[in-house]
């Protein structure tokens, strides 16, 4: 049996090295190599999905000793929670490459960085050894830093440094947590699976949870750790925004599901009200601030804060519905927000502005772009029948069902759904509808290539929205297993 996960994770690394070494005289080669590599990676993930056994727990496990002196292993596997995220990462990569097709400033470096990013993102979702996990986690920062700092907007240096330092600040605490688990007599290993059965004392768990919480919360980001996000999004190139919102944010919430819940179950329960509170604040606060934004990208960025709040609420609930909902939002948000950022990028390319007040009446001049933007907005505001709905609905229901969360939180979160409709419609109202503004005058509609990269996302959005099981059949058994293991503690 081939080491499928290793191939999936490290194929982009190979691609990155090859891309970096390509001759400068052929500036079109890097993007072609990158596209080929990411498509091959997607194909590998598709094989993985096809071979995946929905009720089989951790699968495709690869275990090898890495640093035997410290008990560090090369340990990778996927389950129903990480598989959708791995798929999402592999899916968004070729789209990001195509969205970057016009990058002509140091293309070899750019596409090498893009593929390096894929290594880190894929790796985080399959690593089950803490050291490996941490390595991938930090690996993600470097290419993203360069993408923002070198190919970003006018305030790129500020944004890139803020992004880098802020998330690094968080992950240092995570490292402390990892070491604490390793050094504790009941822990003593970096193996996440083994740690989940280790039965750590509750008081110790509380502190470790706090450390991990800081690391994950910054990444998610949860209010009040979110301010790096709008800056990073606004300055990042389109592909950077897509991957940042689509994958990087999920790393934080994935961390909660993969690390905090199974390894620190008691602490998760005692922290749940606090986590839920921050989640609810993020929902309402993100929505309210999004409403006041004048920049399209910032609006989408704050909407991400709001949506990730729903994920946090679902995780804090600790019920089957809540966790299913959390993973569903993670996936759906990746697809929908990816779509939104792609569209904002496409509109920006044509109008040279992202200021909402300066773009209006898109639907007349560019009906396809306008239709797609409206579609993505409705998906984002959680319209039933589209992908945004199942997750939000399930996390609300799950949170209501949970004994850990006060009903008041759920009511406030439900109002967040209303606010999401408000800021999204307000945006659609101004940008898509109405009379044409001067910036829209004479712009071309989406090209075939642009439509081609959006269509898969549209199809997934509808498919998942109508037939929830297309995603949840992978997630639900894994969530069940996770809850069973937590309950057994």
């Amino acid at each position: 049996m081939l080491p499928l996960l290793t191939m999936i994770v490290f194929l982009p690394l190979l691609g990155a090295v090859v891309t970096a070494l390509l001759p400068k005289s052929r500036p079109d080669l890097p993007r072609q190599v990158a596209l080929g590599v990411t498509l091959a990676d997607l194909a590998l993930v598709a094989i993985l999905v096809a071979r995946f056994d929905v009720s089989g727990g951790f699968q495709f496990m690869e275990r090898a000793s890495w640093v035997p002196e410290a008990g560090i292993q090369y340990l990778m596997a996927v389950d129903g929670i990480s598989l959708p995220l791995l798929f999402l990462s592999a899916l968004l990569m070729p789209i990001a490459v195509i969205a970057s097709w016009k990058i002509d400033d140091r293309p070899a470096f750019y596409f090498a960085m893009l593929q390096l990013l894929a290594v880190g993102m894929n790796g985080v979702f399959v690593a089950l050894d803490f050291v490996l996990f941490y390595v991938f986690w930090e690996l993600v920062l470097v290419p993203m830093y360069f993408m923002i700092a070198l190919w970003g907007g006018p305030r790129r240096e500020y944004a890139a440094i803020k992004f880098f330092l802020y998330t690094l600040f968080g992950s240092v605490f995570m490292l402390v947590g990892i070491l604490a688990l390793y050094l504790h007599p009941a822990g003593g290993t970096f193996d996440m699976i083994a740690l989940a059965d280790s039965g750590l004392p509750a008081g110790f768990q509380w502190w470790v949870f706090a450390a991990f919480f800081l690391g994950f919360a910054v990444k998610v980001p949860v209010f009040p750790f979110h301010t790096w996000l709008p800056d990073a999004h606004v300055e990042a190139p389109t592909a950077g925004s897509v991957l940042l919102a689509g994958i990087l944010l999920k790393m934080g919430t994935y961390g909660f599901v993969r690390v905090s819940l199974p390894i620190l179950p008691e602490a998760s329960a005692s922290w749940a009200p606090f986590v839920a509170l921050l989640g609810v604040i993020s929902i309402v606060y993100g929505a309210a601030v999004a409403f006041a934004q004048t920049d399209l990208k910032k609006l989408v960025a704050y909407s991400s804060v709001s949506h990730m709040g729903f994920v946090m609420l679902g995780i804090a609930a600790g019920t089957a519905e809540g966790l299913n909902g959390a993973v569903a939002i993670m996936f759906a948000h990746g697809v929908i927000t990816g779509m939104l950022f792609l569209l904002v990028g496409m509109v920006y390319e044509r109008t040279r502005t992202r200021t909402i007040a300066e773009v209006s009446g898109l639907s007349k001049q560019a009906p396809v772009a306008a239709g797609m933007l409206a579609f993505a907005s409705f998906a984002s505001l959680g319209l039933p029948g589209l992908a945004g709905f199942p997750g939000e609905f399930l996390s609300l229901v799950g949170a209501w069902r949970s004994e850990l969360i006060a009903p008041g939180y759920v009511i406030v979160a439900a109002i967040g759904v209303l606010l999401a409709a408000a800021y999204m419609l307000w945006m659609v109202q101004r940008v898509v509808l109405g009379t044409q503004s001067g910036t829209v005058e004479g712009i071309t509609d989406l090209t075939r290539v642009e439509i081609a990269i959006l269509v898969p996302l549209v199809v997934i959005t509808i498919g998942m929205g109508v037939y929830w099981s297309s995603l949840l059949r992978y997630v639900d058994p894994a969530v069940g297993a996770l809850l069973a293991s937590m309950g057994a503690m």
């Binding site: 803020k162 330092l165 802020y166 209010f223 009040p224 979110h226 301010t227 790096w228 606060y285 309210a288 601030v289 409403f291 006041a292 934004q293 019920t319 089957a320 519905e321 299913n324 009446g361 639907s363 007349k364 009906p367 409705f378 319209l383 039933p384 029948g385 709905f389 199942p390 609905f393 399930l394 609300l396 229901v397 949170a399 209501w400 069902r401 759920v410 009511i411 439900a414 109002i415 759904v417 209303l418 409709a421 408000a422 419609l425 307000w426 109202q429 509808l433 109405g434 009379t435 109508v466 037939y467 929830w468 099981s469 949840l472 059949r473 639900d476 969530v479 069940g480």
Partner: protein
Amino acid sequence: MAYVALIPLLPALAFAVLAPLSRAVRNRMRWVGVAGVAGSLALSFAAFAAVWPGGDEGEATYRASASIASVGGVDLALGILLDPVSAVMLIVITVVAVCVQVYSLDYMRHEERIGWYYAVLSLFTAAMLALVLADNFLMLYMSWEVMGLCSYLLIGFWHEREEPRKASQKAFLTTRVGDVGFAIGLAVMYATTGSFAFDVVLGSAAGWAPGVATAVALLLLFGAMGKSAQVPLHVWLPDAMAGPTPASALIHAATMVAAGVYLVARALPIFEASGIALTVTMVIGATTALVGGLLALVQFDLKKVLAYSTISQLGYMFVAIGAGGAVAGMFHLVTHAFFKSLLFLGAGVIIHALHTQDMREMGGLGRRMPWTAATFGAGALALAGIAPFSGFWSKDEILYAVWKGHHYVVFALALAAAFVTAFYVARLWFRVFMGAPRTLAAFAGHADTDHGDEDHGGHDGGHDESAADRRGETRWPMVLLGVITAGIGFSAPFFSEFLGHAGHWPDPMIASVSMGVALAGLGAGWWVYGRRAGAVDTEAIKARFRPAYSALDAKIYFDAAYERLAIRPFIRVTESLAVFDRIVVDGVVNGAAVLWRTATDLSWGFDRRVIDGVVNGTARLSRSAGVALRRLQSGRVQTYQRYVLGALVLLMLLIVVKGA
């Protein structure tokens, strides 16, 4: 029986075919929409025949379900439940939908985006059909929201103009306020029973804790109030009239707005388990019935009169359900769907002919547009509650249910609403159809001919040159609806039996009271608006009823209150939150960065000045010593000689002194 699933799927398929096409192709393919709905209509009749002769509510003739997700061991499904209630609703929806779609073929034919119009209309029909066929609350909620989307898209169909754009947003958001309640209600329901299925939830409702039942019932009611435009969430419906008139007929009169009534009727066991919730439903319904009627009195926009009348009639349905006459409520839903869509289609013809929606500019249309006047008249009499038109029968049943439930105050309110209704119907009739034509367009019409339309996209679709009835696509749907309106009332007892209740003919006492009130309303309307042939002096009426009139004119301040108490504060809050975010939250981060920079500067300074200072100080000392001493070495021989001399003198002095 699997064809039942096709009933919502056919229009959905029509949407799926139309939506991805390019505008030009889509515009030519609008027959796809009509075909889809026509197919649904045929299948609905088949389903109705299968259900015949009816029976208990919820007693399924056919059920099927497909799981869309399994969460924590619970299957969430899209399921179909065909029972008498849903069969009736299927007929109502498909008949009105077919009429509206056929009518639109002519009415909307000059629209640049008619293909899109048909696509959305089909999607709407699919969602509404799915809603009434749903066998669980989740699917009901999902269809509910999709209808909301379609309503949004159709209200904002002419989005280049600001008014429809604003109205569509207002409609979506206002109904979504209700939906928040609905969603929470679903969460509570699920937490209580672990299911969304009707039979599980409704079957167990009687055993719930009263608090839970009340909470769920009121939350569902809140959702229904949003969708069915009940006070205080009614504000969106009059504005929604900015959409194309046929769409208003289907969505904002006949079907979607009735979904709230349908929801409450479906969830009746929960309301009954609560008890209080029924009373709340009735009170809200009665308030709405009266408020809607009163507001209709002061409107000059033809469609807005009808919109407020819709609000008022929906209030009647809530009253019925609250008073325990769910069947009466459902029957009123059915009759109202027919006569109100008829009225809207008639209004569409008038608006097209006269280029205006302002009733003050109409008049004398009765002679010019006999077909329209006849069908519209049937609808108006039904609305006013005059026997034998359908509205009379259903209103009578409602009043009967309220009377029998000993809710005398509500009964009085309902009668008052009936009077007001008849009054504004008379006002509308005399202003529009009677008297002298008040505009050239109203005057110049000649009957029953087809006219080419020139302009389009302007006010409400294309306009005809003159006041005249429209051609066949427009006329026959109206005639069909008119016939139904005139005749369906006689089915009242059978309708009850079909839904599994004892049927009865109108109670003579109640019937005569309601007829009397309705006739009194019409008479009063005639007294004010129809007695003299000339124009009615609106200003005189306004002056006479100053405080009441200005309150009504300001929509009883609901909109202003929302604007002042909710929307503007919300925008202010978001703006200040955005500032807060930038200055405080981000300020803390940047502050931390600045602090850190300062700290590093300080420690760098310490390092440079103190630690490195010691090292550098030694160097600098030797260096400055060198600089100082350098001056001694002038390079001039004689200087050195002087040093030597000086040193010699010093030595000698030293020897002299020491020696001494």
